[in-house]
Amino acid sequence: MPFPLTHLVYFSPELILIIGFVVLMIVDVIRPLRRGAGIVALVILGAAAIAAISAWPGTSQTIFATYAHDPFALFFKVFFCLATMVAVLFSLFTFKTDAEYYLLLVGSALGMSLLSGAHDLILLFLAIEMVSIPSYILAGVYRGKRSSGEAALKYVLYGAVSTGVMLFGMSLLYGLTGSTDFEMIRNHFLQESTSPITLFLAMLFIMAGLGYKIAMVPFHFWCPDVYEGAPTPITAFFSVAPKAAGLAALLRLTVTLLPEGWEAGWDWPVMFTLASAATMTLGNLAAIRQQNLKRLLAYSSIAHAGYILMGFAAACFLGFQAVLFYLVVYLFMNFGAFFAVDIVARKEGSETLRDFRGLGYRAPFTAVVFAIFLFSLVGLPPLAGFIGKFYLFAALIQQHMIPLAIIGILNSGVSLWYYVKIVREMFLRDPLKSEPIPEGVGTKLLLLFLVVPIVVMGVYWSPIIAIAGEAFKLVAP
């Protein structure tokens, strides 16, 4: 099939990121420009986001025969650019000079953008690697710090194994169907019968590979150590962007390859039900005992992956719409929570629960905003986290999946306990030290930028849910 060069227009967000990647390389070499690398990265990401927005709602066709140009992909491109921008902003408080750091972030954003549109197994695999490799380096970016190095190594090892497994699954799928193109695979399934066992293994292996990105139980073991060891901005980034990328890929793969009701060998609603229940339960139960806040939030993010998978399990339009909406909310609240942790950690040198004692008196603004993020993570109205959970539960009940809904409810109840433990430490206990923690204007602005959407979307979320509904339109019929 010839690739008309005009199709490059549809590729503009990625092109901008590629050019930006090169520009950042040059910036890294020119010493006086290095200090501005963060700003350059912001401009690049912003431009890519604008390019993606202006292309909305896309042409709903596959370009270069491997790449989807549909609302779903564009939605996620904007999402990834935004998430990376927040990560860059966040990092500006920590890393002043490392241009290569921002370079890697932009590279990761490029990989995720490709992932969101991948409509072919090969491209999917390459895109995942494009996300992973910068991530491995980013996890170890604190060169002198042992835990950071350990985090990077763990991430690489687990990552290598899981990508290997996934590649094996893909090759099985290729063997079954004789194609790597999603549409051809789907047509093959629709027209001819397949060996259920082989299909089961193939999909299980692919799910393992993507499950690693999502930190889905039982592929989550790397997550707490890496999150704890990596620099906080990177941890926050990992907990949002690659996770969303994994979910996006999983969503496109499942929905495109296996149309609803097609359950020979791979009954994906049931698999996702099991994965969701296990992921949220383990995440929440493990979070209860954590004293280190980064670790606690790591487990909390595992639990949230479990909540999001409830939308997959429901396997209906409302469910997928809820997933997309939840991701938007999750971006703000999770980045916010990690940023608040970092504000304290920068001053105190560590991020255990004790360091937050009496924060309400030492840094009232940060403490109040942090509490809002935490309550949003719990899912209390009138905050956006509640609305997100509401739609997920609504999808489950629409499909009459009451047991999973009850498990979700119990999990939300459990999660209240450990989130409120932090709130208790901040407000109910007197501070150990009286000296205030500095909250600069920049810090406050970033906190506001993250908290305002949480509050606004908790009261008025019509536009976002509408976009989430629009975005769930995939290239496949």
Binding site: L380, F386, F390, H400, I409, G413, W417, S462, I465
Partner: protein
Amino acid sequence: MSPLTYMTFLPVVGIVILLFIPRDRHNLIRWTSAFFTGLVLIIGAVTWVNFDPSKTGINQEGGFQFIDHVSWIPAFNIEYFVGADGLSMPMIGLTALLCFLCIFASWGITKAVKGYFIMFLLLEAGMIGTFVALDFFLFYVFWEIMLLPMYFLIGVWGGPRREYAAIKFFLYTFFGSLLMLLVIIAFYLNTRDPVTGAHTFNMLDMMNQGLQGDWLKGGTVRTLMFFGLFIGFAIKIPMVPFHTWLPDAHVEAPTAISVILAGVLLKMGTYGILRISYPMLPDTTMQFAWFIAFMGMVNIIYGAFCALAQKDLKKLVAYSSISHMGIVMLGMASFTPAGINGAVFQMFNHGCVTAMLFLLVGVIYDRAHHRFLVYPKDYPEVELRGKLGFGGLANQMPVYSGIFALAFFAAMGLPGLSAFISEALSFVGAFPTWQTFTIISVFGIIITAGYILWAIQRMFLGTLPDRWKTLSDINGRELFTLIPLAAIIIFLGVFPQPVLHMMDATLNYLNEVVMLGARAAGM
């Protein structure tokens, strides 16, 4: 715009203004809060006067008054829909009054004053919102908004075990409301707007059995839905065995918050059952009415016995609340006009009486810094262990003792005071339906008399210990919070008509709706 909307959101305006007041201007903060709660009270009073008691509400929009009905999230048919009927109006009035009085009972708060009053106003907005909401989503949002400020008010400004009490309250109620959330979603997905055919959160549509989908008709589903709602509400009432958060929360909470907790929040439970469970699931409610009545009886007896055993005066009052809320449950499960009217009137009266009791406990605690009827066995000062905490206070604080006696007698159900009428109505109404339960429950009254008279004897009679010879009598600010409540209790004891008349049309209609609904379902 409806006055109810003003009442709900004026406290929010107050919060915004408080945010701009410097945190060390304590008096300005207090007076601003007093101004806004006062404004709410005035609007509430005007609404009360303009309320037309002949309209019936419950499941017809035309029966509601002061309606605001606008679209909020059109895509999902979520509406801002508020209104009042004879069931909610007394509760709205009670809330506005108690909130205003409690601002003055909070005058002595010195720790983080600004935060306290912000949380207090948020609580008021949540409470009024819950009572006026007629859209189920809106109801849930307000219902949950109450949790946060309550957590902080107990947790930051409470007593020594405040952390435990606050988290216990939070976890209990949060679990309950999550169950409720599932039921709300199930109702939403199985109810269709009669005009557009879309799913709807409109509570009045949900009450229309004809609009409920087939899935909702199944017996098991209905039972599950009923108990999903019921547990959520029972935790708030609190019904035995979900009551254990209450004594902890009350003991640790500051005085004004105990007042709000007992005076308003407990009523949310029974209000929710009447507003939601009754008309939406009439047949299931009828099927399990025996259970509500039975648990009401258990509450009455169990609460009274627990109160009898208490050494801490505040805990005694807390357990007496459990006992008195049992009367509400018994009365409303009777499905007789007298029973339901008595139950709701009891909600109102208990709100006033128990508010007085908690305020009075606060008065003595502020002076003596303890509130033991009898010092516990592990009290730090060895020579005081097992001795009476007070005694002979009637000599030292005559005005205080007089008012306390009035409140205690009202709690006991002495004729001439308001609670007598509501308790009598509840029991008279309940008797034809649940004879055995009612007979056993009435014995609860005797136990109530026992713990109250015994408490009076131990506190106010006998000889005054030397260490209390310096206690000053009640002051003007405290009197200001107590006199209105005392006046209401006496007035309604002699002439209950104003409140009873306000609600009887609505409640009789509610009773009919449930009866008809149950009969239509073949019961």
